[in-house]
């Protein structure tokens, strides 16, 4: 099996796919950091605040013009309505910022900023914007940064599943698998090695994205309030790897069942990106009105575990799991879901699919 793994690594290293995907992943990670750097800059914050200020002023002017035109019927209403709408919009922004950033270090700062803009746009100084920018560029911990920027979007699970699907399909589309020993024992080795390869790919891309993000955020001047304990980091990386691995295995299994790269790619895009999981989660939550146990199933979806990993990245061992396992940390919940998903895929490949002729 180790020989097969060496062979696949050789093929990956000498082919284009791995390097093209790695370049895309690195570029995407850098782009995310660049965008976060741009939106958290004092200039951008100042510009946004000015835009809001101008909106409020414009609404007030429009109202005043309406009143001056002597339109008795519409004047007061026309004056009051836009101002009220603008004020409401600014308050909404303040509320949304507070909600969205809840729990994050920068949350209170940006919420305060928008609250200040709502109250008195002229009162803010450059120092205020710089302070808010500093706070927005400070993550709670490195794990929280990775959870936020790398895991929760579903990019990693999608990328690993895509590469796994395309690589596994290549063995059948090019018939290269025929060059391998494919008797009964050979097939067990083959599928076992491919599952191990998905694990290696998951570890590789997790490492690439993590290192790129850490380096890019550091270069962009982002800092951390505190460091993670080694246990927290191990829990975060271990569980993230497990979930990515489980998604990758599922894509590989779809390819082995269908013997089609298209089916594997479609599965990766629809399922491994978290799209289908989000839809199913919403359906389950909606059905909870009829039967509450539907809602209780939602946290136990693999896609929900990805969201948990993103949201509680730095505190996976300190956040309680979903019912009925509220007495254990969410890390255990993710571990159970990830292990069951990966185990099912492996059992299917090694137990059922290996019996199928090449």
């Amino acid at each position: 099996m180790f020989n097969l793994l060496k062979s696949d690594m050789y093929r990956l290293a000498h082919g284009k796919m791995l390097w093209v995907v790695t370049a895309i992943v690195v570029a995407a990670s850098v782009l995310v950091v660049a965008m976060m750097h741009a939106v958290s800059s004092p200039e951008f914050l100042s510009m946004t605040a000015s835009a809001v200020d101008m909106t409020v002023t414009a609404c007030e002017d429009e109202g005043a013009r309406g009143a001056a035109s002597g339109d008795e019927a519409e004047g007061p209403a026309a004056f009051e309505a836009p101002v009220a709408a603008a004020a409401e919009a600014v308050e909404d922004v303040a509320e949304n910022a507070a909600e969205a950033e809840e729990g994050a270090a920068s949350g209170s700062a940006s919420a305060e900023l928008w609250a200040s803009v709502a109250e008195d746009p002229q009162a803010l100084s450059e120092a205020d914007f710089e302070g808010v920018s500093r706070e927005m560029r400070t993550f709670a911990t490195p794990a929280d940064m990775l959870g936020d920027s790398v895991v929760s979007g579903g990019m990693l699970t999608l990328i690993v599943a895509l590469v796994a699907a395309l690589f596994c399909a290549q063995d059948f589309t090019t018939r290269f698998a025929r060059n391998l020993v494919m008797d009964r024992r050979g097939r067990v080795r083959y599928y076992g090695e491919k599952i191990a390869l998905v694990g290696v790919l998951a570890a590789f891309f997790l490492a690439v994205v993590s290192l790129t993000s850490v380096a890019s955020f550091a270069v962009a001047g982002f800092t951390y309030e505190a460091a993670n304990s080694l246990t927290d980091l191990l829990a975060f990386f271990g569980l993230t790897w497990l979930v990515i691995f489980a998604y990758g295995c599922s894509a590989a299994v779809i390819v082995w069942i269908s013997r089609s790269a298209g089916a594997g790619v479609a599965w990766a895009i629809v399922v491994c990106s978290g799209f289908l999981g989000a839809v199913v989660g919403q359906v389950l939550l909606s059905l909870a009105v009829i039967a509450p146990w539907f809602g209780a199933l939602e946290p136990w979806l693999l896609s929900s575990c990805v969201q948990d990993l993103g949201a509680f990245a730095g505190a996976l061992l300190g956040t309680p799991a979903a019912a009925p396992l509220t007495m254990v940390p969410v890390a255990v919940q993710v571990l159970i879901v990830g292990a069951v998903a990966a185990g099912l895929c492996s059992a299917l490949a090694l137990g059922v699919l290996r019996k199928r002729d090449l």
Binding site: K6, S7, Y10, R11, G15, T174, D183, G186, D357
Partner: protein
């Protein structure tokens, strides 16, 4: 020693048996021509031999060891024996984005071949692709792909080669090069070759044994000598005095068979020598009016066998 023995082999797809009660014996050193119509089950049999396809019933023994592929119990020989077989079935399994050398190296790593890089260079030289090792397979011609497929099959230094239609799509020159290579492999390295092909005249030039499959069953296995004897020529002789000529020949060649045709033509078959027959007739003062040699076409012979697939050995 028999390197391949198949017994009672069967394969069913969706309830339809494409191979049924199939028996085959290939001895060490044979160049075994495996002949059959399209859909007769040649490729399926070859896939069952190398383990690509699991038989529905029956057993395959490689080098005297049952592979156990079709049986419930695992045998100790499984896997180890499969490694002694090089396979080129249908199209070669090549990675188009890699070079010829990298394709070979990928398989060498997978098989754990000791000193893989040197072996890759060696087989590239052997199949005449030494100069194309660094070229991407995507740009290879059909002939080059077939040769690279053969190189992949040879990489593990196999004792047996299973080649399914290796001449497909090759031009005459490439076909001749491939045939010569196969013969050289058998003669120089002692590799046993099982080769299925529709190109019967190519098989005729190299096969030492034949197996004919029809409707998923082995119709007949025979040596090249047996085929030559059965397809062997007959001599048509017409003289001015046919009864006298027949008597002379029957006396001179008791092992040959003679048949007198209505027009006075004598057909000689079996053990005879045309030159000697001519001398005998001349010595007996016979005026020869016709003297020609007929050969039975090997294609006709095999087609006849394939169409008689209902009767099997």
């Amino acid at each position: 020693m028999n390197v391949i023995e198949a017994c009672g082999l069967a394969k069913a797809y969706g309830g339809r048996r494409v191979v049924d009660d199939f028996a085959m014996t290939v001895a060490a050193g044979d160049i075994y021509g495996f002949v059959g119509k399209n859909g007769a089950g040649k490729s399926t049999v070859m896939k069952m031999i190398c383990g690509e396809v699991a038989p529905t019933a029956g057993e395959v023994a490689l080098f005297g060891v049952p592979t156990g592929i079709g049986s419930v119990q695992k045998t100790s020989g499984e896997g180890d024996q499969a490694r002694r077989i090089g396979v080129l079935i249908e199209q070669p399994g090549l990675l188009p984005n890699l070079t010829a050398y990298q394709n070979l190296q990928a398989k060498a790593l997978a098989w754990g071949i000791v000193d893989g890089p040197a072996r890759c260079e060696e087989v590239l030289r052997l199949v005449g692709l030494a100069g194309a090792g660094k070229q991407k397979v995507r740009g290879f011609s059909l002939g080059m792909r077939q040769r690279l497929g053969l190189a992949l099959a040879l990489l593990g230094s196999p004792d047996v080669l299973l080649l399914d239609e290796p001449f497909n799509g090759l031009d005459p020159e490439a076909t001749r090069a491939m045939r010569n290579l196969i013969v050289r492999l058998a003669q120089t390295f002692g590799i046993t070759v099982v080769i299925s092909s529709h190109v019967l005249d190519q098989l005729d030039r190299m096969a030492t044994r034949y197996g004919v499959i029809a409707n998923g069953r082995m119709v007949r296995e025979m040596s090249a000598e047996e085929v030559a004897a059965e397809c062997g020529g007959s001599l048509r002789v017409r003289t001015a005095d046919s009864p006298r000529a027949l008597a002379v020949l029957e006396e001179a060649y008791p092992a040959a068979a003679f048949r007198a045709e209505p027009g006075g033509t004598i057909v000689v078959s079996g053990d005879y020598n045309a030159e000697a027959v001519a001398r005998t007739l001349s010595g007996a003062g016979q005026v020869v009016l016709e003297f020609s040699q007929d050969h039975r076409d090997i294609e006709d012979y095999f087609v006849e066998l394939m169409e008689g697939g209902a009767t099997h050995v």
